[in-house]
Symmetry: C2
């Protein structure tokens, strides 16, 4: 299944990497696509809870809106 | 001695870290201060050539103007 999260504060390739990396570490996450321009983060996964994803992103210092 | 470089494209703390880290790896560099708002990077050093600093920053993907 796919979840799209809206993330605020990502400004550069390092930010993209930090968010992508944190999500990919979650068990059940298969693929992550980050769109810096829109802030949209598309996560393909096998049923990971949205609050787990949110937490992983926030731990990197970004807001999920 | 102190050199101030004007760097373009640093947007976040990761960028700051990348530039600071690259400069600190140069032999003779003693201290680096990055000001994200202005793009000014202040390098305290013992006679490091400015083109070496410029190169180190550009390798991280930023422009020195």
């Amino acid at each position: 299944m796919q979840t799209t999260l809206k993330v605020e504060g990502m400004t550069c390739g390092h930010c993209e990497k930090a968010v992508k990396g944190a999500l990919e570490e979650l068990e059940g996450v298969e693929k992550v696509e980050v769109h810096l321009d829109s802030g949209n983060v598309e996560v393909s996964h096998s049923g990971v809870r949205e609050d787990k994803m949110k937490e992983a992103i926030e731990e990197q210092g970004y807001d999920v809106v």
